[in-house]
């Protein structure tokens, strides 16, 4: 079971997880949700993306994860457009027989998506569209730890 989606709209964790696990004999489920923070000043984040490449790149990263770990299910949802504080930006979920594999695959997916999926965040404040969010060196390092 693989569910990969790019969308503008918010999503709801339980409903998404239900579609990944319904009718399946799942033992271990790991989810990661990345949320938009307020940080005391943001009205939101505006996320620009390269639609066709984003879909293709997410599919490639999922393919890579499925080759590394015996996963029963993988779900990746990434939003674009304006995202308000408290709203989810990205959801990754993995199901597997044993938890170690589900944890490793979910973290791998996030590390790879961060550095390979073509999305760019921009801060939205009272003054309007502001600074582009800079890439974090830690994200590049996190992706490197998985080897190539």
């Amino acid at each position: 079971m693989r569910i990969l989606r790019l969308q503008k709209e918010p999503f709801e964790l339980s409903a998404e997880i239900a579609s990944l696990t319904a009718g399946r004999d799942v033992g271990a489920l790991v989810t990661f949700t990345g949320l938009c923070r307020h940080e005391g000043r943001l009205l939101g984040l505006e996320i620009e993306h390269y639609p066709d490449m984003a879909a293709a790149e997410i599919a490639r990263v999922v393919e890579e994860a499925c080759g590394r770990w015996p996963l029963d299910g993988v779900l990746v949802i990434h939003r674009y457009g304006l995202i308000r504080p408290g709203e989810p930006i990205v959801l990754v979920a993995t199901t597997s027989r044993h938890r170690g594999e589900a944890f490793a695959a979910a973290e791998f997916l996030m590390d790879y998506l961060k550095t390979r999926a073509p999305f760019w965040k921009r801060e939205h404040t009272r003054a309007g569209l502001g600074e582009w969010v800079g890439a974090r060196e830690e994200d590049a390092q996190a992706a490197e730890k998985w080897g190539s």
Binding site: G34, I47, E48, H49, Y50, D52, M53, A54, A56, E57, H78, I89, V90, M110, L113, K114, T115, R116, A117, P118, F119, W120, K121, R122, W132, V133, G134, A135, D139, A140
Partner: protein, 83 residues
């Protein structure tokens, strides 16, 4: 070939996309970037002096030394900040 620009590369170039027809002497991505830099201040500002700007050929990440022959679409963008 079609060129796409994203995020602050798009803003500095001043275009989201355009058709490019570089001379035959421009073989690699790095050479295409050098050629673009000489087209105007906007391109020079977008691509800067270093290799911060990333590229994709036909929707796959590509390194500066890769050849552009045969590609229908090239995209230029800053390091990614999704997730």
């Amino acid at each position: 070939m079609k060129a796409l620009y994203f995020a602050w590369v798009r803003e500095r170039v001043g275009l989201a996309e355009e058709e490019l027809a570089p001379p035959a002497s421009v073989a690699t991505i790095a050479e295409l970037i050098d050629w673009l830099r000489n087209r105007g201040e906007n391109y020079a500002a977008a691509f800067g002096d270093d290799r911060t700007v990333r590229a994709a050929l036909d929707r796959r990440h590509a390194k500066p030394h890769e050849r552009i022959a045969g590609a229908r679409e090239i995209a230029f963008f800053p390091p990614m900040t999704g997730g």
